[in-house]
Subunit: 381 residues, 2 copies
């Protein structure tokens, strides 16, 4: 069992109507003004925008707004937010939306307390040493951004989709109301399911050792994702399934699953980041293309764990049977499993592999994931 530090100070307030409490939570933290960050309009179509403003006003929290955050959130918009936060000396950042909004809120929160370029954190030129407190009200469950310190942002100039992580931008409080997630499209529900599974299985397969407890928790997450996704595709308003899906999403990337394992890495995320960056594929859709290909390429390196996965999650024998089951399930819920499903031409592989190998270098995985290896993996998709 490897040494580890587990520290997750985010408070989760989970349940029906909990978005009404966000003003109270912010006030309790001693904050008097926030930058309210949101997306391209869905919170205005629902009543959530009004609810949020009302909750802020009721607690006497002043606010400025930054809208227009898109999926694969852009660095340029983050910089707009930092400018507003600095100009008005705002004391915190409140993200209301999905993972992209939460990730942008975190980048703004750290950039607002930094004199240099916020991109420095993403290219590991600087470490976050101070940040505004972050709060979130989530409308999508997938990234676990509500319960971790990760921020993934795309540099719109260089097309690099990079990330940083700091416990200083772990949300102080995140509100999760499953009801707010009931309007997500079936397509995005499927992509989210893929993303959650990806978060939990990357280290499960790549760590050379892991306590059985960790493997069991990962298998529990995957089984609950599969069960609840199938229920929600039938009935989007099943509150219990929506709630379990959301809570499991948080558990998949909040520090619990890797604790005590031997390292592990996120190769599928590295490769996928480029599908998103170069072809604007939704993150989950890119992952369901990359994961089965990567599994076929990697399986011999950790055969016992691949066999365990097949047996525990799908009740089948052998690594190949498990991979096949997972790939079929991705296809069944409507997530693409081949590059062509996402209109990515075979000729695109070289550029993707080059870009991904550069990211692999930054993440310290350049030795294993060269341009040639990544091309070999993508050929399988």
């Amino acid at each position: 069992m490897n040494d580890f530090t587990y520290y997750n100070p985010t408070k989760i307030d989970f349940g029906r109507g909990k978005e009404n409490t966000i003003g109270k939570h912010i006030k309790e933290a001693g904050v008097e003004s926030v930058l309210l960050v949101y997306g391209t309009g869905s919170i205005k179509k629902s009543a959530l925008y009004e609810t949020t403003i009302h909750a802020l006003q009721e607690s006497g929290i002043a606010y400025k707004e930054l809208d227009g955050v898109v999926s694969n959130p852009l660095l340029s918009r983050v910089n707009d937010g930092i400018k507003i936060a600095k100009e008005h000396k705002l004391q915190a950042v409140l993200g209301v939306g999905g993972g992209s909004v939460a990730d942008s809120a975190k980048a703004i929160a750290s950039g607002a307390k930094y004199d240099g370029d916020v991109w420095d954190f993403f290219i590991q030129k600087a470490q976050v040493t101070e940040a505004l407190p972050v709060f979130t009200v989530m409308t999508l469950a997938a990234t676990a951004s509500e319960m971790n310190g990760n921020s993934v942002v795309m540099n719109d100039e260089t097309k690099q989709k990079y990330s940083f992580s700091s416990v200083l931008v772990n949300p102080v409080v995140s509100v999760i109301n499953p009801e707010l997630m009931a309007t997500v499209s079936q397509e995005y529900l499927a992509y989210s399911a893929v993303d959650i599974i990806a978060h939990s299985i990357e280290i499960y397969f790549t760590a050379s050792t892991h306590p059985n407890f960790n493997s069991r928790v990962v298998e529990s997450i995957v089984k609950s994702v599969i069960e609840t996704t199938e229920i929600l595709l039938e009935d989007p308003n099943d509150y219990d399934a929506r709630g379990e899906f959301a809570w499991v999403a948080s558990q998949a990337l909040n520090g619990l699953t890797p604790a005590g394992t031997a390292g592990g890495s996120f190769p599928n995320h590295i490769i996928e980041h480029d599908l998103s960056a170069l072809y604007n594929v939704a993150h989950g859709a890119g992952l369901s293309i990359v994961i089965p290909a990567w599994m076929k390429w990697y399986k011999e390196q950790n055969t016992a764990q691949f066999e365990r996965f097949a047996k525990e999650v799908f009740g089948v024998n052998g690594a190949d049977a498990g991979i096949e089951k997972l790939e079929s399930w991705f296809a069944k819920i409507g997530s693409p499993v081949r590059l062509q499903d996402a209109n990515i031409p075979k000729e695109g592989i070289e550029a993707l592999a080059l870009n991904a190998s550069e990211l692999a270098k930054i993440w310290g995985m350049g030795d294993l994931y060269s341009k040639e290896i990544i091309a070999e993996i993508l050929e399988k998709a």
Copy 2:
């Protein structure tokens, strides 16, 4: 899925030699003096006392000492600690030992910031609104006290063993080094295993609804406890098993397993508290007597979950078979399963039942757990 708040701000520093970092952790929290709380000598037999003092001195942390904390820790000793902490205006409490030491440290931390009698918190006459920060270095894995806000203390005058819970006494940092736990006796390892299982299954069986994910996590905990206990009974120095056992102990009572379930209660702990209080039985030993009896009495009230437990944990069919497997396993590892195994006479049942029914009233479970019902349960033991 029920509403819940999940908030566990304790930082866990886990691994070999991590006790050397405790001074650094305390200093980082801005603390300059502590009350060092420990037990009846085992940390002096090992090198841990010297290591701790050295770590404190190295970081320039002043300290006073309170030794002599016993299992089923006493209120009188807690009051001694409060007196020292107040007198010397100490800024924090550091517990080095097992659950009793950690629980005493928490009681001292809250009592030191309270003008009234610390027992008020235990009898719910007052709520903790302020406390000194708590730090722990653990030498036993069982209670999860290193990762929650619970404190269980025995009033030596009234013989009441009561508890309170407040996130204000969640340890700021807890050090878990599995190596420090390798000298625990086989007997206490078994009692600890029972305690961990008890923590995770009380709500599992008593909540009327629970997400499948929660049930899976509980089953994962129980399976890992069983596996690692058996390894450790063979080889006390198996570091990986010791580490997984310790980490699973923390997960069993840190707020994860109940999140989203419908209520649930701790009847076995209530009944057991009296076996400890009146007969000075070790907590885990009392639990292994109470649990099978309670399960036999309760099983019809949640048949599906009892059947699930039997199947998932032991691979057997039917509630009775599962109960039988658990009882046999307790006996196999050397924990008592009958009152007579702990030299508690049949005539003692009435007094035990009376005392336990009073505690049940305080915990709001008086309707279900009357004196007569508790006697009926204990008759089965």
